[in-house]
């Protein structure tokens, strides 16, 4: 019999009770945070942005994942590449702004110059024996899923990206992410562990009590409910929603718009889920009047009543693809108690602000919702720090996706750390 003493984290993982929130150290411990950065964010596909973040050759976007800074570059061949954002000379940070446009990538310290494929093309005073070929930028794995950019910091990234892309791609492609532009981006720092941010996202149990704006277009029923507890009014609405879902899915699928649920949230290494959900009211968009926020529709759409295609990926993203715009979210951990939530609103690349869309109307619902969620994550973070905190049970009707998130997390951590 092996006599192995498990680390505290291994013990925590082993002792996690399915169906219950995680133990306090998962949200509080700097050690667990470090393990999260190494295992979850260091070895899985992380959603970081969209192709329209670097629309043209020479465009660069910098994304920081923990201590790692990555420069995402579109080259003259139109290919998008990612590199570790540090000079191979003395290690200076190469690109400093989140978004910039460059001719070549030049270190401002000693002017070492790299072309957009990462080759070192200029370095003065290094002598005749210096081999430029050995000092190119270090590449980082990057993949585009129908225009959504994922990077992986591991030498060998999970191999099931293609499997996800094959199934998820057809859902996203009609919205034509590549022909959009980032109309607005908002970064907020949520005062909570990244898992609390993700858990909050993976349920709409809290929506009725906290999101007066979001629940105008969004049916909370789309994320599960317990019918036996509802009053007549709610039950009637839920039935109306059920019928709507069935009819709409049929219509959309017939139009060539994949709509039915696929759920691989905790059954793949690169976990994901998608489903196209009907919207309330006019049924067009995530706006307060439920009508399209942008006159120029996406892709080849001629009708905005396409509901909202929801996409979730593990460990750090969710997205809403509408007929007229896209809202996309990525979560990047800062430390055990703080997380960056980065939201981008995309509209057709030819849409003109003030003419085709009003920015306040476009962003209103999710700006409000994000602020509300940030507060909820904050009070949760405060609570789990209490000595009185003990894991609580998830609702089997409305928090299945939260449980799947935690199950995926525990599974991935265990796979890397052992039991």
């Amino acid at each position: 019999m092996l006599d192995v003493t498990p680390t505290p984290l291994q013990r925590l993982l082993r002792e996690r009770r399915p169906g219950y929130t995680l133990a306090a150290p998962f949200y509080l411990s700097p050690d667990v945070f470090e393990a999260d950065m190494e295992v979850i964010f260091g070895r899985h596909w992380i959603y970081v942005g969209v192709e329209p973040d670097v629309p043209e050759a020479g465009d660069v976007m910098v994304v920081d994942i923990g201590k790692t800074s990555v420069a995402i570059v579109r080259g003259d061949d139109d290919q998008i590449r990612a590199f570790h954002n540090l000079c191979r000379h003395r290690g200076a940070r190469l690109v400093h702004e989140e978004k910039s446009t460059v001719g070549n990538l030049v270190c401002r310290y000693h002017s070492w110059t790299y072309d957009l494929t990462g080759n070192l093309i200029h370095a003065e005073h290094m002598g005749p024996d210096f081999e430029r070929g050995c000092h190119g930028l270090k590449p980082v794995h990057i993949r585009s899923l129908a225009g959504l950019l994922f990077i992986c910091l591991a030498d060998e990234p999970p191999a099931d990206f293609d499997a996800m892309a094959a199934r998820l791609g057809p859902y996203i492609e009609p919205h034509n992410v590549r022909n959009t532009k980032v109309a607005f981006q908002k970064d907020i720092i949520e005062p909570g562990n990244w898992k609390l941010t993700m858990e909050n996202n993976r349920e709409c149990y809290h929506c009725g009590a906290n999101h007066p704006e979001l629940t105008v277009p969004l049916f909370a029923y789309g994320f599960g409910f317990a019918p036996e507890e509802m009053d007549e009014h709610d039950r009637a609405n839920a039935e109306r929603y059920g019928c709507l879902l069935k009819t709409r899915h049929g219509e959309w699928e017939a139009e060539g718009l994949p709509s039915r649920e696929i759920d691989e949230l905790d059954t793949m290494i690169t976990g994901f889920r998608t489903e196209r959900l009907p919207l309330d009211g006019e049924g067009e968009s995530h706006t307060l009047d439920t009508k399209a926020a942008c006159r120029k529709l996406l892709g080849t759409f001629t009708n905005a009543k396409l509901g909202g295609l929801s996409v979730w990926t593990q460990p750090n993203s969710w997205h809403h693809f509408l007929g007229d715009h896209i809202v996309t979210f990525s979560v990047l951990p800062l430390d055990a108690g703080r997380s960056l939530l980065r939201t981008k609103w995309l509209v057709h690349e030819d849409a003109v602000e003030g003419v085709d869309y009003d920015l306040a109307n476009l962003t209103g619902v999710w700006e409000a919702t994000n602020d509300q969620d940030s507060e909820l994550v904050g009070i949760c973070q405060q609570g789990v720090a209490s000595p009185a905190y003990e894991p609580g049970p998830y609702s089997p009707h409305t928090e299945m996706l939260v449980e799947k998130f935690c199950n995926w997390y525990v599974g991935r951590m265990t796979a890397h750390l052992g039991r």
Partner: protein, 377 residues
């Protein structure tokens, strides 16, 4: 009887000239005369086809472009002529065994032939260092700038105490011997001393023999320590003179030297000569002129002149303005600057995006002005 119109007298027309020579407008000089100075030294007298006046400081040089054997070769020659006789210039060239240019000049260049030249350039001149007493020291072909200086002082007739000490291989190799003796005879403030290494076949040298030494110098010019000293000659000669003067406790701030060997020229002169050579090459059309534009740096409030064939970065460097730069070939973009006004011709190598160019940015290392410029630097 009617008088036939008098034929135009070319010399009279030349003397009547009033416009200064502008090499940028007309770089073609016609060889007017070739004179034998010694058995292996010739002087070539040159002037533009249209009569013009040459203005320069004695000691300055021209950069020439010679077409020799289908090849363009550039050489710098110090003017041996004096600006006091401004209607023509002269270079005095010693035949160098195996030297492609000196041999070509000696064997081929004749009156009526044309050469191309730019200048004058160079900072080596007595005019830059006014003094009551001069000592001119030359070895071999280094005599040319000294001769230009001696002739200038002689011609203007100002009382100026000039001692000229020349080192030659043998009496037969003393360039300008007759003229130097004549100037000394006519002008008591001009004294000339020649040191010869050896006798020549038909003359035993009666003056000091061997190489120039401190003793020889003291004897010839006892007050040399009080003089502004100009030195030109082969490198070993100049090195020896420099050491000698240091030993004698001479104030080296008053010592000025220039080699007639291009490789030994001071950097600034070398650059000017190289640039002139480039300019001579660049001018395909004989009448082509290089325009110059005004470049203003808005933040540092510096203004400079930039020829249209020079990059803004180069012009700034020459003017002593420091601009951030690294690769100097349009690759790294370190010199990227905003042009507040004006236009440039830019040949970059990927260091700038079209969008940046559209937004008024330029890489100064590979941008040549096509108009006056205001640069946000």
């Amino acid at each position: 009887m009617t008088a036939a119109p008098a034929p135009a007298e070319p010399a009279a027309a030349r003397l009547a000239a009033s416009a200064p020579w502008d090499a940028e407008a007309d770089d073609a000089l016609v060889c007017l005369a070739v004179r034998d100075e010694t058995h292996d030294v010739k002087t070539f007298v040159l002037a533009p086809r249209e009569p013009r006046l040459f203005a320069y400081a004695p000691g300055q040089f021209l950069t020439f472009s010679f077409e020799i054997g289908g090849e363009t070769i550039h050489r710098c020659y110090t003017l041996s002529s004096a600006p006091t006789r401004p209607h023509a210039v002269a270079v005095t060239v010693k035949r160098v065994p195996g030297g492609p240019v000196s041999n070509w000049l000696h064997d081929t260049l004749k009156p009526g032939d044309t050469v191309r030249a730019l200048g004058p350039m160079g900072a080596f001149s007595c005019f830059s260092h006014p003094a009551p007493k001069y000592l001119l020291l030359s070895g071999g072909s280094g005599v040319t700038p000294m001769m230009a200086m001696a002739r200038s002082f002689h011609d203007v007739g100002e009382p100026r105490d000039v001692a000229f000490v020349h080192s030659a291989r043998s009496p037969a190799d003393i360039v300008f011997r007759g003229e130097l003796e004549l100037m000394a005879r006519l002008d008591p403030t001009f004294r000339v001393h020649v040191v010869c290494e050896t006798d020549s076949a038909d003359e035993v040298w009666a003056g000091p023999k061997g190489r120039l030494s401190l003793d020889t110098l003291r004897e010839a010019v006892p007050d040399f320590l009080e003089r502004e000293i100009f030195v030109c000659g082969p490198k070993p000669y100049m090195d020896a003179v420099r050491a000698m003067l240091k030993d004698a406790g001479f104030d080296m701030a008053r010592h000025h030297q220039e080699s007639f060997d291009f490789g030994e020229l001071p950097e600034a002169d070398k650059e000017a000569a190289a640039e002139a050579a480039e300019a001579l090459d660049a001018e395909a059309a004989p009448a082509a002129t290089v325009r110059t534009f005004r470049v203003e740096f808005a933040k540092t409030r510096r203004v400079l002149e930039c020829p249209e064939d020079t990059t803004v970065l180069d012009a700034a460097r020459k003017a002593g303005i420091r601009l951030p730069s690294s690769c100097a070939k349009g690759l790294c973009g370190t010199c990227k600057s905003k042009l507040t006004s004006g236009t440039v011709a830019m040949t970059h190598a990927g260091g700038i995006r079209q969008r940046e160019i559209d937004a008024g940015m330029a890489l100064l290392c590979c941008s040549k002005p096509t108009s006056d410029l205001v640069v946000e630097r």
